[in-house]
């Protein structure tokens, strides 16, 4: 067995440098690598290009990176709900590349799986298609999209073992499982780090081969962005 455990979060982030491209798992505040984000926000590094579905909120999640002005370019699908991000975007302090969410997901998965490029219908006929190759298959038009190239993938999983095998929980799987192994180095924080042999090989969502470093996250706030309840009948 190959051990992926690192003793602490500093070791987990070893090698990160200013100007690198980072993938960050999560959708909204759900399934974000919150411990890694906190350390990065307080680090001396900056000028990151970040790939993530969203941009967090002002004081939590990816928002911490914008608050500390760590991001030069943001590649994302939906960038609402964060006023500091908006300010930086409107004042051109930050470059924003908007990408259809399914395309963003597939570009991560392509990077993970060694597929350099693929065709997708999303965005045909829109400004997203500008400058991209258009091709017809079965009389429908598609756009050529390339896999992302990233330095670090920062991932959050529910359970993980020392071999790097991961299990996600609920909708927190989102971009986490498809960014794992999609960057040169993949770092995973888990809620529950368990000994090897505790996870059923049949139930593993992401095999350890896609993981470079894994560690037990110190604390998980798991904040809810948009609490919505039903009223009891």
């Amino acid at each position: 067995m190959i051990t992926k455990t690192v003793e602490n979060i500093s070791r987990a982030l070893e090698g990160i440098k200013s100007g690198m491209t980072l993938m960050l798992g999560g959708f909204g505040l759900c399934g974000i690598p919150e411990n890694l984000i906190k350390v990065l926000a307080n680090s001396t590094y900056s000028e990151f290009t970040c790939i993530s579905a969203n941009v967090g909120v002002d004081d939590y999640g990816l928002g911490l990176l914008f608050k500390e002005k760590k991001v030069k370019t943001m590649i994302s699908s939906y960038v609402g709900e964060n006023s500091e991000f908006e300010r930086q975007m409107l004042s051109n302090e930050i470059e924003v590349i908007l990408t259809p969410m399914g395309t963003l997901a597939e570009k991560c998965r392509a990077a993970q799986m060694g597929i350099p490029a693929f065709y997708t219908p999303a965005g045909f006929g829109t400004e997203i298609a500008e400058g991209k190759e258009i091709r017809t298959f079965q009389s429908k038009k598609y756009i050529l999209e390339e896999a992302y190239q990233a330095d670090f993938a920062l991932i959050k999983a529910w359970k993980g073992d020392h071999a790097g095998n991961l299990i996600f929980r609920g909708t927190a799987k989102n971009f986490n499982s498809i960014m794992t192994g999609a960057a040169k180095t993949t770092v995973v924080e888990v809620e529950k780090l368990v000994p090897v042999g505790m996870l059923d090989p049949n139930e593993i969502h992401t095999p350890g081969i896609f993981v470079d470093r894994i560690f037990q996250g110190e604390s998980f706030e798991k904040r809810i962005e948009n609490l919505t309840n039903s009223s009891p009948q």
Partner: protein, 219 residues
């Protein structure tokens, strides 16, 4: 009298058929779930990675790991499943989702839709909308017929940056049910007590009016 948002949702709920997997966008589309009869076998997909969404949780029962694409806390029904975002959009792209309901700023008579960007205004992004409209065979747009200034949202040609082309098949507004056919907007139904001339006035694109336009049946 024109419909309110719940009325639009109620009418769209009639479009759901047994066995349909349905993706509901944010806004009016979300309300559609409230009007689905319990006998109907349908499942709701949310593009962040869940199939088989149920009602919102009771207070105290929410789970940070269970949200929908609007980041709202949700519950799941028996038979639900979770999956990653590539699989989720694979379901959409691969035409496994049977019906997509979403809002729009503009729809035109060629079936193009604009719902993500107003030049000069703050752009928040397209989210999953471009994937949804480019992929689904069955797209219903839920929106008010005119904007707050009274301008028609059913255009000859969209003026805003597009979300997708040649995709919208049906529009349900506060005034009417309209299909998009080769020649333009085809008036299918009018809202209760709405006169045809009101719909004509509120529609910018070519409106084709058949001899008999029935009134929507809403319960």
């Amino acid at each position: 009298m024109s419909l309110n948002k719940n009325g639009i949702a109620k009418r769209i709920a009639q479009e759901l058929q047994n066995g349909f997997y349905v993706n509901l966008g944010i806004g009016i589309p979300t309300l559609v779930a409230n009007y689905v009869t319990p006998e109907l076998e349908v499942e709701f997909q949310s593009e962040n990675g869940v199939l088989g969404m149920g009602p919102f949780p009771l207070a105290g029962e929410e789970d940070a790991d269970l949200i929908n694409a609007g980041k709202q806390t949700i519950t799941t029904l028996p038979g639900a499943s979770f999956f990653d975002s590539a699989t989720s959009f694979g379901m959409i792209r691969g035409k496994h989702v049977d019906l997509t309901v979403l809002g729009a700023m503009e729809v035109d008579q060629t079936g193009a839709i604009a719902n993500w960007k107003i030049p000069g205004k703050l752009v928040k992004g397209m989210g999953g909308a471009m994937d949804l409209v480019a992929s689904a065979d069955n797209i219903i747009v839920a929106m008010m017929h005119t904007d707050r200034h009274g301008n028609s949202k059913l255009k000859t040609k969209c003026s805003l940056p597009l979300t997708g082309v040649d995709c919208v098949k049906r529009i349900v507004t506060n005034l009417a049910v309209i299909d998009i056919i080769e020649d333009g907007f085809l008036l299918k139904e009018r809202a209760p007590n709405v006169e045809i001339h009101q719909i004509v006035k509120a529609t910018e694109g070519v409106l084709i009016i058949p001899e008999n336009v029935k009134e929507m049946e809403l319960n």
